[in-house]
């Protein structure tokens, strides 16, 4: 049934716009595509109204290309810059109210489990740092505590970008923003650690400095959420508009931060590790002593 919705009724092939013909013939549906295949297939998001050099757009495009089963995935978004791109996405997506995205995703996942008990339906939340860690923090945390089978992705640009640059919980200590002129006077929230403590079975902290890593972690997270429990990915996505950078400089900033305070971190429970090893998604870890031998 799921793939039937990606095929065009033969009676209408001659009147379908080219974009949809391309999606049906060269889209990623039922094909094992990944980030490294970008440019070789029709993407599910091609046009969006985000700013030039937006790293959120880069991360978004990367994530969508790494979805294991796009035809069986529903993405839940929330208010923020990313919500401007969602309407252009050619797979099912829901715009939740500001902050309640993880509650919506929880209900959706449970409903899909009841409606399609024999199929895997992935539910992924994609929201900014304001929606995930400030306004929706209670709903984010409780979905993890309840052990919902959903993946949560935070686009961390460390600012409320589309409302002019207010500080968020994710803004680093002391940072001055357009609408936070005296500098932030408390620490950046350590959401990956909260996620671990709240029961997430897979947690990763990445940046747009390494898009291949984003794709790989996201895939792992979706597979782990499908089989085991809640998963969380936090992606550093600097905003050139608010940080007053040239668009071309934003990835350089992501690379710089990746070497400083936004280095790659990954945590997975033993159960997830066994799952990912058995499915071939990752290689088994070799203990140091065994490696020496």
């Amino acid at each position: 049934m799921s793939l039937a919705i990606t095929k065009i009724n033969p009676a209408f092939v001659d009147v379908m716009p080219q974009e949809y013909l391309d999606l049906a013939s060269d889209g990623p549906f039922a094909a094992d595509k990944s980030v490294k295949d970008l440019g070789t297939f029709k993407e599910l998001i091609e046009e969006h109204p985000l700013c030039a050099g937006c790293n959120l757009a880069l991360a978004f495009r990367t994530l969508i290309s790494a979805l294991p089963c796009p035809e069986d995935t529903v993405i839940v978004g929330s208010t923020g810059c990313n919500s401007l791109a969602f309407p252009q996405l050619a797979i099912h997506n829901v715009h939740a109210l500001f902050g309640n995205q993880n509650a919506v995703a929880s209900g959706l996942k449970r409903g899909l489990k009841l409606r399609f008990p024999d199929q895997n339906k992935d539910v992924v939340v994609m929201a900014g740092d304001g929606a995930t860690a400030d306004i929706g923090f209670d709903m984010t945390m409780h979905s993890w505590i309840r052990g919902e089978n959903i993946t949560t992705v935070m686009f961390d640009n460390e600012i409320y970008a589309n409302t002019g640059g207010q500080e968020s919980g994710m803004t680093p200590f002391g940072t001055v923003r357009n609408m936070a002129p005296t500098g932030k006077n408390f620490q950046k929230m350590n959401v990956p650690e909260f996620a671990k403590q709240a029961g997430c079975v897979y947690v990763a902290k990445v940046s747009t400095a390494n898009t291949a890593k984003i794709g790989q972690c996201f895939r792992n997270a979706v597979l782990a959420a499908r089989e085991i429990g809640p998963t969380y990915i936090q992606i550093y996505t600097p905003c050139p508009t608010n940080l007053k950078m040239k668009p071309a400089e934003s990835v350089a900033l992501a690379k710089k931060r990746a070497k400083e305070d936004y280095a790659f971190e990954e945590y997975m429970s033993e159960e997830v590790e066994n799952l990912l090893v058995s499915s071939g998604a990752i290689k088994p870890k070799v203990k140091k002593e065994e490696g020496k031998k």
Partner: protein, 191 residues
């Protein structure tokens, strides 16, 4: 309440929702013409007459018929194309509900959130919606009634639409066959 008629537009910017004006959906086996409850056959004849009398009749098939490959859906597709061919109608699809900004090609597709643009561009005077999810159909129908003079027809597989000028409910393939037969019959009589 109850006197409100769902007439051909333009009703004006932000037309009142027909449901708020007291227009109710017809019951099983019935249909609606301009908000009145009528027999299904009367509505089918009305649709056939409107289609044959139109200058630019157009079918707007939605995702529920465009993206289906079951035998039933394929047959439904064939019937829609047969009817459109019989009345000389265009077929402009609404493949999904993405807003399609900043631009679309109104010759080949319809922006679900600005259907009036495609109707104005093509000078469509009778538009038939089929296979569009009900929430989106109501939105599109209301926009069309508000801003254009297009006569709207909803061939709904569920309970029908108050916002359409003519609305059928439970439009299955048998109903489409009846519509096709009525069109052919009317054409023969007119010839």
């Amino acid at each position: 309440m109850g006197a409100y008629q769902v007439l051909q537009g333009p009703e004006g910017y932000l037309p009142p929702a027909a449901a708020m004006q007291g227009v109710t959906l017809a019951g099983p086996g019935k249909a609606m013409i301009e908000g009145r409850h009528v027999e299904k056959q009367e509505a089918i004849e009305c649709i056939a007459e409107k289609l044959l009398g139109a200058t630019v009749p157009t079918f707007f098939p939605g995702p529920l018929v465009l993206w289906r490959t079951t035998d039933y859906a394929q047959e439904r597709g064939k019937l829609i194309r047969e009817i459109s061919a019989e009345v000389g109608a265009k077929v402009i699809p609404m493949p999904d509900y993405r807003p399609k900004y900043p631009m679309i090609n109104p010759e080949v597709e319809i922006n679900p959130n600005h259907p009036n643009l495609t109707i104005w561009f093509n000078k469509i005077d009778v538009g038939v919606f089929i296979g569009v999810h009900c929430h989106q159909a109501n939105l599109a129908l209301k926009i069309i009634r508000g801003g254009t003079s297009c006569f709207t027809v909803a061939l709904c597989a569920e309970e029908g639409h108050e916002e359409a000028n003519v609305s059928l409910r439970e439009t299955d393939n048998d109903t489409l066959r009846k519509l096709l037969a009525t069109v052919k019959d009317l054409k023969k009589r007119r010839a």
